[in-house]
Amino acid sequence: MLIKKAEDIRSSEITPKSLYLNRRKFLAEVAMAGAAAAIGVGLKGTISPSTSVLAGNKIDGIKKSSFSTTETVTPYKDVTHYNNYYEFGTEKDEPAELAKNFRPRPWKVKIDGLVDKKQELDIDTILKMAPPEERIYRHRCVEAWSIVVPWIGFSLNELIKKVNPTSKAKYVEFTTLYDLGQMPGQRRQVLDWPYVEGLRMDEAMNPLALLCFGMYGEDLPNQDGAPLRIVLPWKYGFKSAKAIVRIRFTEKQPTNTWNISAPQEYGFYANVNPNVDHPRWSQAKERRLGEFLKRPTLMFNGYGDQVASLYSGMDLKKNY
């Protein structure tokens, strides 16, 4: 239906030119910065090894996915310079700037709650749990704009199966890093830090739910949730927690951060639904970045075939 198979489309055919231009510009900037540092013009400390080495690292052996859409991919520059990531500022252009010194390595993720074995997993151990796939997903923000992003990762269920939650586990909760030094936006109490999101276990086990560590063929940029985030294409963007340091399995429904901030506006489920208005915005239409006219928003963001059955019998007006 709406999800077309895209196995026969090569990444080079769909990735916009601007990405390649940007990549060259980045290389040129790194080269220039390096040259400047070499002749000692006081650039000390401005290029930290973590950012200059990690940003733009290519990921090898990426498999295609039948979940990918064939829609036009949003330019890399827009996806990296228009971010809702309050840990790095509440303005959309702030994360690109304020996440520059964020260190996505070394990184550990705590696995706890209702699991057989509580443990701390190194990010590189997690990345080896399954082969990386490219998933070109539509991504719909609750603010009625949308993008199409070629994410890289594998189904969240690959990790869940490996860490073995007990039969009591009904929900899974994700916690974002809380670090005032690295995330300057957390110095202001605009939200109840750290950022917490959650899913019902059957939602988390759905193969569409992506454990993501890259995009556009490369490592995830800091401002897009490095080094590890989730991507839930049938839900509003705020459900997709970034910079995850803890995955906890629970019996009770987790309380998610935006729900604490404004319960009448942001629910636990937050499924994309053109028929249920947000108090501030109509959700019937959306503006795809780069397009002038608005386009109609699709139920479950067009992923109904995969996920509608998860919510059969539920009142989606109440469970918004």
Binding site: K92, A262, R287
Partner: protein, 206 residues
């Protein structure tokens, strides 16, 4: 003095529009240009409303009474940017869908507040001519007190619009609060000074 200043102020008031046009022509409006234009014109409407409201305190406190000659122009520019702001909503956001707009105005309180703020500016812009001032006499001043309510509705529009970060709208609210406080204080002081001529005192407090 004002003869030379007026064109300068006029051109300065056109700078925000010029900047938008320049950025638009040079792909500088970011990933979501329509949102950028909406925010920018909204910001300048509020800023110019507050600048207009600061003319009276400024001229009284500095005794630079000639400043009054800029007030009408600044107020009209606030209306100008308010109109652009409304146009981006009507055209670029709603594409002239009247039904959808009415639904928005009724349902979303930040839109209700914004529409109120703009509507209150319309009679002020219409009666900004010398002829209207003469014709309306004392009623002109009473009518033009609507600017206090328009500015307040504009700030409320902004407060109700933001999701979590109230910093910027509260900065506007603080500035407006100070400007209104000046008027209250001036009114009380004038009333105490000349208790028998309350009518005159009100005029001074304007």
């Amino acid at each position: 003095m004002q003869r030379y200043f007026k064109p300068v102020v006029f051109l300065a008031c056109l700078l925000p529009l010029g900047r938008l046009m320049w950025l638009g022509l040079h792909a500088g409006l970011g990933a979501n240009p329509i949102e950028f234009i909406t925010h920018s014109t909204g910001d300048w409407t509020l800023t110019l409303l507050l600048v207009t409201l600061s003319i009276t305190p400024l001229r009284k406190l500095t005794r630079q009474y000639w400043l009054i000659s800029f007030r009408r122009m600044l107020g009209l520019f606030a209306f100008f940017y308010g109109s652009l702001h409304l146009m981006t909503y009507v055209w670029l956001d709603k594409f002239f869908d009247v039904h959808e707009m009415l639904h928005d105005i009724a349902k979303r309180k930040f839109i209700t507040a914004g529409m109120t703020a703009f509507t209150l500016m319309i009679p002020l812009a219409l009666t900004s001519t010398k002829w209207s001032i003469r014709k309306l006499g004392k009623r002109w001043q009473t009518l033009h007190r609507l600017i206090y309510f328009s500015a307040a509705a504009g700030v409320i529009h902004y407060i109700w619009l933001v999701k979590a970060d109230l910093k910027k709208p509260l900065e506007y609210a603080f500035a407006l609060g100070m400007l209104l406080m000046y008027r209250i204080v001036a009114w009380v002081v004038a009333r105490r000074a000349v208790p028998k001529h309350v009518g005159e005192a009100e005029v001074i407090a304007q």
